[in-house]
Point group: C2
Chain length 460, copies 2
């Protein structure tokens, strides 16, 4: 990484207050690396360094700062700096900044914006959170079907500077309805005198401004595009979504899924940017909820208290039985959640999945039963050097129980994501801890039912 190489030289120049040399270096370093350098400096020093950057570069660097550092600097900006940074941000970046701002800063920042920009921000903020409308930028280049390609290219030269991408050009009619999309290289490679319409195939894919951002990720990945047009409910072109914004959305969605799947609430920021108190708040809810859920397991075990009292050795195998059920459930839940979220399987395929997981759960359970039986026998023989009746009976009970718990874990783990999704919840709520807790109580019931059936009259 450039940033690690430059760090010492950079520190030296700050020490020496050699701003001229710093300015030279900084404008050659990518914005993301400058942000990383600023991140480690005191706000008072960082703001001086920030002033050395060109306006556009300063805005770029700003978008790469962590929100904590960003707020700190924002608060220290002069009115002019504020206006420079805000007017050089992309509209979608401006919106996501506005969302994070504390109340007192919002007003100051809004005032620093030009009227046009302020209108744009207010409009974008009108779309629901996590919607494509919040992600899109109105900075695209459009052309009309009756123009010549030459005229189209002139338009690109004129508006291209302020567009977020010129790789895709949009064709609209008189009422601004989107009618086609063209790639820049199509225009470059064609005869300049031909009309735009000669390049058109009238086939295009567009997103709705009200679609979920997740849909944008899927569409861009499915159609291999660098940008996708966004239309309102009347088919009017209102913006574009570019692939670089999408990569970030996809990464965030994945992180959210993983946190849900770990049995906790979704963090509002990166791990490194989350305070310990915030972290505890996000984790304690599920921990406590699942603990209370375990009362069912405790109650179930309470029903078998006399069985345990008569055959204490049975209790030794409880953790291995219930954990194996939980493991099988965790595997199944993760497979299904991921397959659903990558559109590998559809919601209406649940019956097919049920059939598959019934079969594979049964087979996994049978294999585990055989393994379990011999492992228990082997372990017992190694630890006590004899094969007691207790040991052999335990091995049989454990083996038979494993068929039940693995099968049940598999079924509940694979069906829960469908059920939660049907209820309008994120299927990723089927966390490993949640599935395990559910399998624990069933595991206890399966295990003791089999034990009683088999051992009644022998040791019970």
């Amino acid at each position: 990484m450039i940033v690690d190489l430059l760090k010492p030289e950079f520190d030296e120049l700050i020490e020496a207050k050699d701003w001229v040399a710093l300015k030279d270096i900084l404008n050659d370093v990518p914005a993301v690396d400058v942000a990383k350098l600023l991140e480690e400096l005191e706000a008072e020093v960082a703001i001086v360094i920030f002033r050395l950057l060109k306006k556009q570069k300063a805005a770029d660097v700003f978008t790469f700062l962590s929100s904590g550092k960003g707020m700190e600097l924002l608060d220290m900006f002069t009115a002019q700096q504020l206006s420079d940074v805000m007017s050089n941000l992309e509209p979608d970046e401006r919106v996501s900044l506005m969302e994070e701002l504390p109340g007192n800063l919002t007003q100051r920042v809004m005032n620093s914006m030009e009227v046009e920009d302020r209108k744009q921000v207010q409009k974008l903020l009108g779309y629901p959170e996590e919607s494509v409308g919040r992600l899109m930028t109105p900075r695209y280049v459009k052309v009309r079907r009756d123009w010549t390609i030459q005229k189209g290219m002139n338009n690109i030269r004129k508006f291209g500077q302020s567009a977020e991408t010129v790789n895709v050009i949009y064709v609209v009619d008189r009422d601004e309805h989107l009618i086609d999309d063209l790639r820049l290289n199509q225009l470059i490679l064609a005869d300049p005198e031909a009309p735009i319409s000669s390049l058109m195939d009238e086939s295009f894919e567009a997103l709705s401004a009200f679609d979920d951002q997740e849909d944008a990720v899927k569409m861009l990945s499915k159609y291999d595009r660098v940008a996708m047009p966004v239309v309102d409910s009347d088919g009017i072109l209102v913006g574009i979504v570019t692939v670089d914004d999408i990569i970030d959305v996809a990464e965030e969605e994945t992180t959210e899924d993983m946190q849900l799947m770990a049995g906790m609430d979704v963090l509002d920021d990166y791990y490194s940017q989350t305070t310990i108190f915030e972290m505890i708040k996000k984790r304690i809810g599920w921990l406590a909820f699942l603990f209370v859920g375990q009362l069912f397991t405790t109650t179930a075990m309470g029903a078998y208290e006399s069985v345990i009292a008569n055959a204490v050795f049975l209790s030794l195998f409880i953790p291995m039985i219930i954990s194996t059920g939980g493991n099988s459930g965790t595997q199944a839940a993760t497979l299904i959640i991921r397959a659903l979220s990558t559109d590998d399987i559809d919601m209406n395929e649940w019956l097919k999945v049920l059939g598959r997981e019934l079969l594979s759960g049964l087979m996994l359970g049978l294999i585990m039963a055989v393994i379990g039986f011999f492992v228990i026998i082997g372990w017992g023989y190694m630890t006590s050097d004899t094969l007691t009746q207790e040991l052999i009976l335990s091995a049989v009970v454990v083996g038979l129980s494993l068929i039940g718990v693995v099968l049940w874990g598999n079924l509940s783990g694979s069906m829960l994501p469908f059920a939660l999704s049907k209820m309008g919840l994120d299927p990723a709520v089927t966390s490993a801890p949640f599935v395990s807790t559910l399998s624990d109580v069933t595991g206890i019931i399966i295990y003791f039912s089999i034990a009683i059936a088999l051992l009644e009259g022998i040791v019970l």
Copy 2:
């Protein structure tokens, strides 16, 4: 989705054998949707439909087919069709196809390729699997610093048709060393008579052909690019990696991470494309390994067999104690694995993380202790209507144990990813089942140690 809308019409046309109308429709439908339609047809019908597509479109459709369907069609192609499809695939797509082919097909396909293409494939296959070299395409446009921009644009017009992207243009010296990258709009917006060098800033980021594909994902997302150049160890430009390939790699990497984190081996294909036997093979290993690991828990419990015999009620709380430890560990492990894989934290920050997780684990444990105490008291009172001495003692033991198990779960869950990574393993191997199994044995020891210390002389 277009595909669902067209399906009935499409089926009708096939039924009527109206190939002319089909051909018209098919060439307007995006390749990904044509692939989806073909996927559901018998191979004999699919191959007829396939013949209706234009050469380039046919190749595009082919890349979107599942590997099973792809092989099926490949096997039925005539030599001419084979050669058409192969020569219209991107080099990176050709390589990934070659890798999947069974031996008998490989030879046939290799023979169908033109000499140049065959050389390229063999060269790309020389890079390690999962390396950037396997992902890159040699189809880019390059220019020289002393050319005029006009000459550069002519070169783009000439080679642009066969390039995978013309959005970024690469500047190389006489020895093919990469010296800069330019965006196409820079060229378009500049004076045609100016030299290429007037646009250059001599600052560019490049990947090495031997880098891991994960690095490519990180770089493209970090620098917000649509394409990244790839150089060999001498700095010679050997290819480019484009963002659309990267989205697929990122998605695959995430799926792999999630499967590891669920305690199973990584699937070779999508869930829907994996046979039940394959699935069982990928899952049984970890299930059995973790089951055997649970022998430690069983052995630990065996050491406390006489304690359980004297105070059976203690055994009722075992599942809730060990599961809470596992849940805390799962949360911590997931947070750290994700933070490491998104570069939010570095490997060398492990000590900082340890400090954080020590503190948050302790606080979570204390809160859980209070909750646990009252939950047990409440539950006991509800189920038996009196507060027995046993119940109060249990509540105290459970409460105190929770501090220990939550803290331990948190520490092991957060440190294991670092440890595994240090050992050269994927940190995602710290699966929820793995962490839970580790916490189970510790949970048992903590719980019974506290029980003995507190209850000795009272009920033991």
